[in-house]
Symmetry: C2
Subunit: 192 residues, 2 copies
DNA sequence: CAAAAACTAAAAAAACCTTTATAGTTTTTT
DNA sequence: AAAAAACTATAAAGGTTTTTTTAGTTTTTG
């Protein structure tokens, strides 16, 4: 059900998508058709809404990730693909511009945000580390792999690219995961 | 031989590496032990030196790239690896901070710079395009591949990472090329 | 009760001025 | 002939005040 809190958060996200963090609370109430009084009866501040959004977003990713990691049916490569493609439904928070704005205007929530974000990628690092030790993954620099993946995934999130190239975000991230895992060469004979 | 012009450019690069674009011409002459008069007899302005540096840097990359593309001994994958790893000896220009500063303080040379830079990656795109048509490369989004590669290579150039992880730049770029080509999985049985 | 509108305190942005730094030139010295 | 030093015009940085914006509150209206 669309509770009032949910509607507020949805509107908040929508405004973020359009204007970054620079929308006003008046913009927000106008969008969802409630009064400011109602808004402030549900949340105490703009920062609080942001914080709740961050929490919800990462809870979703964490949940997906944990499910994948604990799934004994999956092979390590499958888990890696799963973790890489586990993006949240609210993709705003992955946008670089939003990153910068949160960092600047909401340093308190930024700190929390950055910590969780790094943590999420840390799961991938561990997975790759294990993979290398098991001999499943080539002996490459694990941090380099993670950094590459991180940047690739993030770069897709800055709107421009995937709009301009008319490739869906889900598709793009999936392709990225495949490239990281299998490379771009198509047939075995082209390898090595 | 170390002509005076070369010494100036070397000093210019050294200053850039240390202070970005914010070094003074006095810093520069002090570093290489010449007078400002001599400096300005060789170059008409700071911007001109930058421009020459840009030209030289990309001429070097272009040269390497063309050699690779025209080498009939090389397979397409080998060419791709070659093009990706064809970084110039002066790596400053690949640094993101320098990017931003040139963009801001030298918009004229930035324009030129950006154009050549994109052009260079365009060569990789064409190569990949051909590869896909030949069936050597999997049917992925070619622009996505190029963007991924570009960002990965660039990310390694921002000092921090490869200093902190004590991996040489050449090594890092080589690993990136390998990952793009072959992926991270070590043995064939782990693939697919 | 909740929307609409009016309000306020605080902060961000804009406008303005002052000072400093520096690219490029000229003069002096070696 | 080139370095060193002094110089200037200009632009960037820094500081200050004014104006505008806006988060959050309070009052009014339906």
């Amino acid at each position: 059900m669309a509770t009032i809190k949910n509607r507020i958060i949805e509107g908040f996200v929508k405004e973020m998508e359009i204007k970054g963090m620079k929308f006003t609370m008046d913009d927000l109430v106008r969008r969802i058709g409630i009064s400011k009084r109602t808004l402030y009866e549900n949340f105490s501040s703009k920062a609080e809404i942001l914080e709740v959004l961050i929490d919800e977003t990462f809870a979703e990713v964490d949940d997906k990730t944990q499910r994948i990691l604990q799934d004994t049916e999956l092979s390590t490569p499958q888990k890696i693909k799963g973790v890489i493609t586990a993006v949240p439904s609210h993709r705003v928070l992955y946008d670089k511009n939003i990153f910068e704005q949160i960092k600047r205007f909401y340093p308190d929530q930024w700190e929390k945000f950055a910590e969780i974000f790094d943590n999420d990628w840390e799961e991938l690092r561990v997975l790759i580390h294990q993979g290398i030790q098991e001999g499943i993954i080539a002996n490459l620099d694990e941090k380099l792999i993670v950094k590459m993946t991180m940047e690739a995934v993030q770069s897709v999130h800055d709107q421009e690219f995937y709009i301009k190239n008319n490739i869906s975000l889900t598709d793009a991230v999936s392709q990225i995961a495949d490239i990281i895992l299998f490379g771009i060469l198509s047939t075995e004979k082209n390898r090595g």
